[in-house]
């Protein structure tokens, strides 16, 4: 039976109108037309602005009649419009009084914060028409897609191996050989690579619509255009980045992303999105008015008592995340991506901001974080916090978790880097190998709370971590003042490229040492794109602005550094083969299954006698396979000996139960191919009682 309220009641020129429905916000297809709904607490009036696609001037401006305002929501259904070929925006009228937090300007045409497709930057890198009166244009999306039986995979967090990557960088380099370089479609062509490597989740650096031309400027060194390449500056939270889609110019980016997710799922790979809710692309009072500033500045942003923008993000403004309105838009957004795009998880950039109140003070019980933790639609999604912000709030180990939130473990990164370069930090490293129980166990949070990483997009790549003592960010045009200075890196004897074979051999070993430690640590390992093939950024630890080979993955490295790739691949395979490395619960340091061995035991150059002294750089541990996954599955025994001293050491090996023998899986002191064996092919160790570890080397044995 047809509804009776689908007929026009008003007219504006040739447009037939009716009061709309306030929910859902945004533009929705309804019988006979499009329902528009937008919120503003302080606006006095609102006008819907319609453009033909790509037109310079509006085709119509339709004021919302007073009776079309429900509460603080302007809502209107417009009938018989060509929804596929229109772009729409709003003009909001209201006070311009910055001291009071209001910055209304009816001369600006505003992007719908709920826009599902955003036009204006349809093809990556095409210089915009700066005279365009409407730069980022809301468009209407169709949400239908043939998902078949797809659903999020639900891989247990402790079984994940995450690959952090940038959509464009992954296939933009000519060596990628894909048909659609630098796009979502390009990634789809490379799915077999993830499978070969063995990762089971990809974490995409921001894919929400952003403006690569934000703060673009010529490099003072090369003259090349520096852009907002990484995209940590959101224009619209609901829209995928059109410039990342091979179909962006056709407006089919929604389908392209969904096709990618579906195909990744088919191949056993989860998709995690790096989401940026801490600030927007509008910057501070000097920035452009794109959407929120003109819609309801005082609601969406944290403002000082004088009406200026708090800057806890380091990017000019801070989203007022614990305002109930803003909370709702964040929730709506994540629900949309989880339900419409089947996204498996989210990593929240500078997530500590999400726990601040309107004046920036940290909340003990932040409503937004609690809401996300308990939301029924997000219930199976991984929630991962970058548990710090640019305002100095550092919450690794103390992020309000509600039993749900995992954390990028920055302390793991720092401690492992220090240990790797030879600092005597055995105790800290030992915590890292166990899933950082010192940070999480007392709160009842398991090892998978800890997203373990040694490198990420922020900072050095793995190859640079072992090749540079200091950052070299001159190419960013900021006099080398940007990027972190606390890199805990070591160049192994020469700064940057060298033909010294000894130094290069040491670097090669150090990269393997890092990967080995990462893959035997309890928790969730995260690998940075390209580290598996030794990708370098020439010592630049903050390549946010480079659309060039500094960021692009050079696929020729697969040949050049084939032995490193083999090592990483087999290290991941080793982790995947051994559930005892992927425990859900922390170790109890006791035998609770009757195997005669505790779940974890600590050793050193002498078996059963670890050296915890302040000068120690050697440590070993043994995992009892009968305690794997709390004793629910049986695994081999695993022994990991780590010598981060600059001299070789003999390690006495603990004995195994009768009939079991130690086999060598990894020895980073050996050159390829003897540095690692494929799981199942390990050779029996000749001397079952001890092994010599070369300087700065790791040995991993399997008892079977």
């Amino acid at each position: 039976m047809e509804r009776i309220d689908i007929h026009p009641t008003h007219k504006h020129g040739d447009f037939k109108l009716r009061v709309g429905r306030p929910m859902p916000f945004g533009a929705s297809l309804v019988p006979g037309g499009v329902n528009f709904s937008v919120f503003s607490s302080y606006a006095t009036s609102c006008t819907l602005v319609l453009f033909k696609r790509h037109a310079k001037e509006p085709m119509a401006e339709i004021p919302f009649p007073d009776e079309f305002r429900i509460g603080n929501v302007f809502t209107m259904t417009v009938f018989e419009i060509d929804y596929e070929n229109i772009e729409y925006g709003y003009r909001m009228d209201g006070p311009f009084n910055p001291d009071a937090g209001h910055r209304f300007d009816k001369n600006k045409i505003l992007l719908d914060p709920y826009a599902k497709i955003i036009g204006g930057r349809d093809v990556w890198g095409v210089t915009p028409d700066w005279n365009d009166i409407y730069q980022h244009r809301s468009r209407i999306s169709f949400d239908d897609f043939d998902w078949e039986n797809d659903r999020p995979l639900g891989i247990p967090p402790e079984d994940q191996v995450i690959y952090e990557m940038h959509v464009r960088s992954f296939t933009r380099h000519p060596s990628s050989g894909v048909k659609h370089p630098g796009t979502f479609a390009g990634i789809r062509e490379k799915i077999s690579y993830f499978k070969e490597l063995g990762v089971n989740a990809i974490e995409l650096m921001p894919i929400y619509e952003f403006d690569e031309f934000e703060h673009s400027r010529p490099s003072p060194i090369t003259g090349e255009l520096l852009v907002n390449y990484w995209g940590y500056s959101t224009v619209g939270f609901f829209a995928p980045k059109a410039g990342y889609a091979a179909t962006g110019k056709l407006g089919m980016q929604v389908d392209e992303v969904k096709a990618l997710v579906k195909e990744l799922h088919k191949n056993g790979l989860e998709v995690i999105l790096d989401v940026v809710f801490n600030h927007t692309a509008e910057g501070d009072q000097r920035g452009p008015t794109i959407s929120f500033r003109g819609l309801d500045n005082k609601t969406y942003y944290m403002l000082t008592p004088e009406g200026y923008y708090f800057n806890f993000s380091g990017c000019g403004n801070t989203l007022n995340c614990n305002n109930p309105i803003v909370r709702n838009i964040v929730l709506d957004c994540l629900r949309y991506w989880a339900s419409e795009y089947h996204i498996d998880g989210f990593r929240f950039d500078l997530a500590a901001i999400l726990g601040r109140d309107a004046l920036g003070y940290p909340l003990s019980n932040p409503p937004l974080l609690e809401t996300l933790a308990f939301d029924p639609i997000l219930a199976k999604c991984k929630l991962i916090a970058e548990a710090w912000d640019a305002g100095g709030l550092y919450q690794v180990g103390s992020f309000p978790a509600y039993g749900r939130w995992a954390e990028w473990n920055g302390k793991y990164r720092d401690n492992i880097r220090k240990f790797l370069k030879g600092d005597a930090t055995v105790g800290d490293a030992a915590q890292c190998f166990q899933g950082s129980p010192n940070l999480y166990a007392h709160q009842g949070r398991g090892p998978a709370t800890s997203i373990n990483f040694i490198t990420a997009h922020d900072g050095f790549t793995l190859a640079d971590l072992v090749s540079y003592n200091d950052k070299h960010n001159e190419a960013n045009g900021e006099n080398n003042n940007d990027g972190g200075n606390d890199n805990d890196s070591w160049n192994c004897g020469a700064e940057g490229w060298t033909d010294d074979s000894g130094i290069n051999a040491l670097r090669s070993r150090q990269m393997r040492n890092a990967i080995a430690m990462l893959m035997v640590s309890q928790g969730v390992p995260m690998l940075l794109m390209g580290d598996e093939v030794g990708r370098s950024q020439n010592g630049n630890n903050n390549t946010y602005c480079h659309d060039n080979e500094l960021n692009w993955l050079n696929w020729d490295l697969l040949k050049t550094n084939a032995s490193l790739f083999r090592f990483v691949k087999n290290s991941i395979a080793f982790r995947n083969a051994h559930p005892v490395l992927r425990n859900k619960y922390h170790f109890q340091n006791r035998d609770y299954v009757g195997s005669g061995y505790a779940d974890i035991t600590w050793h050193g150059t002498q078996a059963w006698n670890a050296d915890w002294s302040p000068s120690s750089r050697t440590i070993a541990f043994m995992l009892c396979g009968k305690h794997a996954k709390a004793g629910s599955v049986e695994d081999n025994y695993i022994y990991v000996a780590i010598n981060m001293h600059w001299e070789a050491h003999w390690f006495e090996i603990p004995g195994l139960p009768e009939q079991l023998r130690w086999h060598v899986s990894v020895n980073t002191g050996c050159t390829s191919p003897d540095d690692i064996w494929e799981p199942g092919t390990e050779a029996k160790l000749e001397n079952q009682h001890g092994i010599l570890l070369g300087d700065r080397s790791i040995v991993i044995l399997v008892g079977k």
Partner: protein
């Protein structure tokens, strides 16, 4: 060029020939033919696209509709699609749900 969609049914196949430009305005015509084709319960849905010059996202939507309307047991053949349209189907992943061939004869060979 005006859009047309012509349905022919023979044996186990329903064949729809499309010409012109498939966009939001013409998509309902195509959709109507899909619905008619579904009533004949074909084993194959054959979409003749040689004369289709342009397909907007609304056209893609009808293809998605066709796949769901016909069900998983019906093979959908896309015949002779022009390069731009084939490219769109490929980039959006829709190509994986259909069988793209150059001409209708090859379908008859496969069916035989």
């Amino acid at each position: 060029m005006a859009f047309t969609a012509t349905l022919e049914s023979s044996g186990h196949a329903a064949k729809i020939t499309l010409t012109g430009e498939l966009d939001a305005n013409s998509a309902p015509i195509f959709r109507e033919e899909i619905e008619k084709a579904a009533l004949t319960k074909p084993k194959h849905l054959v979409l003749m696209l040689k004369e289709l010059d342009y397909m907007a996202s609304a056209g893609l939507r009808v293809l998605i509709f066709a796949k769901q309307k016909m069900g998983v047991d019906v093979d959908i053949y896309v015949v002779g699609a022009q390069e731009m349209i084939l490219d769109t189907l490929e980039k959006t992943g829709f190509i994986q749900g259909v069988i793209a061939v150059d001409d209708y004869d090859s379908i008859e060979v496969e069916s035989a």
